[in-house]
């Protein structure tokens, strides 16, 4: 009886916390296309996987690549996806699929900045189903982070409390239950055909804070996990290609030195690993009849509008089959 009483306090605290956590996770974390991606890699098999950052998410149309290459294609690129996230996404995807090709979309900024701890940075971990890979991912990603990131996933979505009603409505709807992309359509962009389609934006474009390559600030974790990804692909006989999507000519001119430096560094680095690197900002990779002006991008960083993405994907598909 005495032991029972002693355990009552921690048990009640743990139970109430678990209940509150469950409710707040449900009410505050909005539906995201990461859930769709996870569902797709859990239920379908793919021949080609794309991993990378928001440039890949906005710039690579799986449908067009499928048309070109003939195999099934999945775009798993995400804003804030570091090589570490890409590696675990790949491992998770390979539980169901046996891809022949993996294309990694490389944004040099992700190789010289520390992982941010805001917004969607924890999304992949949260949406990943329970498995050994998730446990491994936990030790790789959550282990050194603020404990609230792992214990209270809703922590980074507290600001959504005003949208709670909307979030709940979406989660109770059919689209959520059926992993539909309907809730992600809005005026500026929409998730459709397996990638984020930006509308053609007019007017001045935001310059924001461009994360440019800086060799002094190398994020060792990015290199380590990329090499793990390479070893994983090699072991399974998967062809690994590394690409960088084209950025607006205005950006390229303004930061020419940084882009050249990055190209030099990664060409050398990837050559050392025996990998192909297709940097679409290099003169010899310029795409014919492709508009490089800022007009067809949503920002200086180089997020393309959907039409441009399809044109780029067509070229990428061509290059892949060659």
């Amino acid at each position: 009886m005495r032991n029972f009483k002693k355990l009552l306090l921690p048990a009640v605290v743990a139970l109430v916390l678990a209940a509150v956590n469950f409710c707040l996770n449900y009410a505050l974390i909005p539906y995201s296309y990461v859930r769709i991606m996870m569902h797709q890699i859990e239920t379908q098999e793919y021949d080609t996987l794309f991993l990378g950052t928001s440039h890949g998410l906005n710039g690579i149309s799986p449908k067009i690549i499928e048309e070109k290459t003939g195999g099934r294609v999945m775009n798993l690129c995400l804003g804030g996806e570091y090589p570490k996230d890409a590696y675990y996404l790949l491992k998770q995807a390979c539980k169901k699929s046996s891809p022949k090709t993996v294309v990694y979309e490389l944004d040099p900024g992700y190789w010289c900045t520390p992982e941010g701890q805001r917004g969607d940075f924890n999304r992949v971990f949260y949406e990943m189903p329970w498995s050994l890979t998730k446990l491994e991912y936990f030790f790789a990603k959550e282990w050194k982070l603020d404990f609230r990131a792992a214990l209270f996933p809703w922590f980074y979505y507290r600001s959504q409390f005003r949208q709670m009603e909307e979030i709940l409505a979406v989660k109770r709807g059919q689209e959520y239950q059926n992993f539909g992309a309907g809730p992600f359509q809005n005026e500026g962009q929409g998730y459709a055909d397996g990638f984020m389609q930006n509308a053609l934006a007019t007017g001045p474009k935001p310059e924001g804070k461009l994360e440019l390559w800086d060799e002094q600030e190398k994020n060792e974790d990015s290199f380590r996990y990329f090499e793990k990804m390479q070893a994983f692909c090699e072991k399974r006989g998967i062809r690994l290609i590394v690409i960088t999507t084209p950025v607006p000519s205005e950006t390229l001119e303004k930061y020419a030195e940084k882009f050249e430096e990055s190209d030099r560094f990664f060409t050398e680095y990837l050559k050392g690993l025996g990998l192909e690197y297709w940097n679409y900002n290099r003169p010899e990779r310029k795409i014919k009849d492709f508009d490089y002006s800022l007009n067809v991008y949503t920002d200086y960083e180089g997020h393309m509008w959907a039409g441009q993405a399809e044109q780029f994907s067509a070229q990428l598909g061509e290059d892949m089959i060659q």
Binding site: V12, D146, S159
Partner: protein
């Protein structure tokens, strides 16, 4: 391993669980094992520095003791002891000095002589200032005969490396900590409860108050020209941030110590209730203050050259000054060292000297103050005078925070000037420069509310503690439902009210 990381939480939980599961006589070994795992998680190379300090101070302690016991000639024994002590101090403080201050010295030389020495890359072991001070304090205690040398190497290694305190203190004394570390501790539910409460309270102070205040501090001190009307707010926020960050970290550390049945020294005693700068240093970073008092202030005051100076001052300025001036000089030296300890930059030296000068000035003016109070019929016991003293001390302390936090001394002076010339709190929410906008924190008003609410709660708790109430003891006597409610409120306040603790998750004093 940051104190706010998942890694640390699970590490501490595993350490506590195993501690009460293994045979009691092995508990200290368990702590040593975990302490070294903890330190080695920061890198094997930095662990070599810890090992070096442990081995040199262990060997020096025994040699000093042996010299006193085994050499029959007292003079020879003293000389031998002194040689060993000096070598150990030189080696350990030398390492600390080289690793921490070489670049500062090079920059100063460059500035003075126009040379172009480049910065050198040094490995800076975490908590080096804390464990060096702790082990050198032990060595001085052995030399002065205040403590017996520890002959068990591994037990001594635990004293130097005890994991909760190694990163940011408190700086422990061998006489108080040694026995506790090596004794066996049976499971004590009440103590565990107290420990958990203390840990949660520490996290609350750090995450809910300090991390909200840091939004304002970083913005204002990072852009003093843009926020020229917010100097006062910046420094007030910094005083909140620094106190809640450092004392919150101490609460976590002391709370973890409690989980092992080990009582670590208190480092804070409601410092903003201090009535003078001297009193402030008796309440703020207490273990550093007492270390400085015992190992710098007294040796300096009692040294031969200080006696000569005292004699000279007595002759030149009279009996009263002859007594006061050496103390003032010793205080200046102590606070110069405190400033240097805080960091390798001139602003920290100015910060230390500022404190030393105020204390020295107060010492010199003490007789005049007494006369003025008598003439003005001011009683030391009056509440109004007490409040005045608190407010005066708070203002003086906040002036020192300008030096501590600003980029450099000229920026600190500029911010102080702006504080006097121009106050414009509207800048906090001014469109275009709204605080928090740049860092993506769009909840400026909410953050202000959380800081205010948190400070009110902290104030209420501090008043009760100042009245001598043991709140943790009161808590443990409550009905379990009340306890559950308190735990839940504190735990949920961390994600609801807290800001992310930065990418490094760092406590300010964990970088020393």
């Amino acid at each position: 391993m940051s104190l706010v990381s998942m890694e640390f939480l699970l590490f501490a939980a595993a350490a506590v669980a195993g501690y009460y599961w293994i045979p009691k006589r092995c508990q200290w070994m368990w702590l040593l094992l975990f302490s070294y795992i903890y330190y080695a998680s920061g890198g094997i190379r930095v662990t070599c520095f810890l090992l070096f300090t442990t081995l040199t101070s262990y060997a020096a302690g025994i040699l000093v003791e042996q010299a006193a016991e085994k050499i029959p000639d007292k003079k020879k024994a003293k000389r031998r002891g002194k040689q060993v002590l000096a070598s150990a101090l030189l080696l350990n403080f030398g390492i600390l000095g080289v690793l921490k201050y070489t670049n500062f010295a090079l920059h100063t030389v460059n500035g003075l002589f126009g040379t172009e020495f480049g910065s050198l890359q040094f490995l800076l072991p975490l908590g080096i200032s804390f464990y060096t001070f702790q082990s050198m304090g032990y060595l001085l205690d052995v030399y002065w005969g205040r403590a017996k040398a520890e002959h068990h190497l591994f037990r001594f290694a635990l004293f130097v490396s005890f994991f909760p305190q190694i990163l940011q203190g408190p700086i422990g004394r061998f006489s108080a900590l040694g026995e506790q570390l090596y004794a066996s501790h049976p499971f004590d539910g009440k103590r565990i409860e107290r420990g958990c409460l203390r840990i949660l309270w520490g996290y609350f102070k750090k995450m809910a108050i300090a991390d909200n205040a840091v939004i304002f501090v970083d913005a204002i001190f990072g852009n003093p020209e843009l926020y020229d009307g917010l100097g006062l707010m910046g420094v007030l926020m910094y005083s909140i941030q620094l106190y809640c960050d450092f004392s919150g970290g101490m609460d976590v550390v002391i709370g973890i110590g409690e989980l092992f049945g080990i009582h670590l020294d208190e480092n804070f005693k409601r410092p903003y209730f201090a009535v003078s700068i001297t009193d402030f240093w008796h309440r703020w970073h207490i273990t550093l203050g007492t270390w400085m008092k015992d190992y710098v202030f007294y040796p300096v005051t009692l040294s031969g050259w200080m006696k000569h100076f005292s004699k000279f001052a007595k002759k030149a300025f009279g009996k009263q000054m002859g007594r006061t001036l050496p103390i003032c000089l010793a205080n200046l030296i102590v606070f110069f060292v405190v400033g240097v300890w805080h960091g390798a930059a001139w602003k920290f030296i100015v910060y230390g000297l500022y404190n030393g000068l105020i204390i020295a000035f107060s010492g010199l003016m003490a007789p005049a103050y007494r006369n003025w109070k008598k003439a003005l019929h001011i009683s030391d016991k009056s509440r109004a005078f007490h409040l005045f003293q608190m407010a005066r001390t708070f203002v003086l302390v906040n002036i020192s925070w300008f030096f501590d936090r600003a980029e450099d001394v000229p920026t600190a002076v500029l911010m102080m000037k702006n504080t006097l010339r121009r106050l414009d709190f509207r800048q906090v929410l001014e469109p275009g420069i709204e605080i928090g906008e740049a860092s993506g924190t769009t909840f400026t008003v909410v953050a202000l509310g959380v800081i205010l609410g948190g400070c009110l709660l902290l104030f209420a708790v501090s008043v009760l503690q100042e009245q001598g109430k043991d709140l943790a003891e009161i808590f443990t006597r409550q009905h379990w439902l009340v306890k559950a409610a308190v735990y839940l409120c504190l735990i949920l306040a961390l994600p609801v009210l807290g800001q992310p603790s930065g990418e490094s998750g760092g406590f300010i004093y964990a970088q020393f």
